[in-house]
Amino acid sequence: MISEQLVDLSRLQFAATAMYHFLFVPLTIGMVWILVIMESVYVMTGNVIWKDMTRFWGKLFGINFALGVTTGITLEFQFGTNWAYYSHYVGDIFGAPLAIEGLMAFFLESTMIGLFFFGWDRLSKTQHLMVTMLMAIGTNLSALWILIANGWMQNPVGAEFSYQTMRMEMTDFWAIVFNPDAQAKFVHTVSAGYATGAMFVLSISSWYLLKKRDVEFAKRSFRVAAAFGLASVLSVIVLGDESGYTVGEAQQTKMAALEAMWETKPAPAGLTLVASINEAEQKNNWEVEIPWVMGLIGTRSISKEIPGIHEIKVKNRERILRGIVAVNALDALRANREDAQAKQVFEQHKTDLGFGLLLKKYVVNVNTATPEIIERAVNDTVPRVTPMFWAFRAMVGLGFAMLLLFGLAFWSTLKSACMQKPWLLKAALWMLPAPWLACELGWFVAEYGRQPWTIYGVLPTHLSVSTLSVNSLYGSLAGFIGFYTVLLIVEMYLMVKFARMGPGSLGTGRYDQEPSHQSTLVQA
């Protein structure tokens, strides 16, 4: 059996590097469209302040990209180094979108980023704008393919297990591409990225306005960020609702855990706002509920029930028992590929193979599993409720707080009154970390909520890891943490330094904080 310590360390290493990687990603995804907006206005109006805005915010975008690039590659390497059994089992499917992402999207994005930074004096205005647009498309395509891969982990469609090769094999590429989970995840995640980019520009612009420096530059940046941010947060909320619906369809355990729904409630189920969760007794001591809302989000109907944790566990116990039959039939088939009866039994039970494999966490031979061990495996099929419940609510709370902020910012900029509301500018400044926190919490809900599976319902996490030594994992984990901490310090140092310098760092002579400052700012 695989040691639990090895599994936990492998998970910790992947989680730490993935969460670190996602500090950079949403800012890249969001800021690139803000650059497209700013440069489009420059091309349409010829007003040079919009070019300066594109160049200045592009500089901060460039710092973020340079520090963030390669932090994603370590994740892909980990599939081979730490998750070798996973890679063999699902590599045929999972590898395809990752390869397409590298060949199509990342190369496009990287090439266009080079042209964006070094093409200002070599390309015409329109050509440069095209480059910026292609950079944005490449960045978002990159996110699309990664989220198609992740969506398949949540809802493994378009694939079938082969007992001959002992791996999942692709049966329908387009089913994987148009997997509803992947599509909902993509639009929700990129919208969150747009909100992150908008918050970044809004916060720093607010700081300039509070300091009363580079006011015209900051006001325009504030206006773009407020409008883009408001549209983005509204999209995040609407598309998050769609994501909730797809989770309700494909991952009932995740839905039940994040709602702390122990019992199946009559349709349409209410949304639990807050609750005192009692994991030991598997109930809520008390809860505050809004009637109907969960049923409408999770099922899009008023008559369909959302199963509670207890009901799900009863079903999963049956699936584990059928899974034992599937494992035995697979054993027989591996011994004799021509065993027609074993083949028939396996075909009848193969959808539950993964559930039988859950027992391998506790026993070498699944046939020796006692009722107590089966009960432990059943309990494993639902992630811990408390972290899921509160992480989800913290994410949603941050989303609505950002909606309020962007709404107020947009309203104030419509009235040209943002300078008269220092409290709003201060709120925008202090809200800077909010989208990052929301994004990380969202990923926690998505990935922790998928446990105990790496591929939902197909491959248990504990069977996915490589047989590495624990010491090797401790060493590489310490190396990554040390290295990434240094990188984060460098990122923060460069970001703060250039944000403080402001557009004066462009050296145009038109802004504050530069020796050759002249009041030649072009008025709109």
Binding site: I63, A66, F77, M166, R167, V345, G475, G479
Partner: protein
Amino acid sequence: MDLSDKKLVNKLAVVLVLKLAILIGLWWVFVRDHRIAVDGNSVAAQFLTPVPTTAQGSKP
């Protein structure tokens, strides 16, 4: 950021080179010697029952 930002470009170039060097170092120290050959047979050995149980396999 453009060609006039020579200091920033230099800093970022140094960071990128260091990043690649450290990543290669981490791989060299912790990963290089840990070759893991995974194929259908090793997955079967890891996932399935150690001794084949054909009689049980045909039970519905």
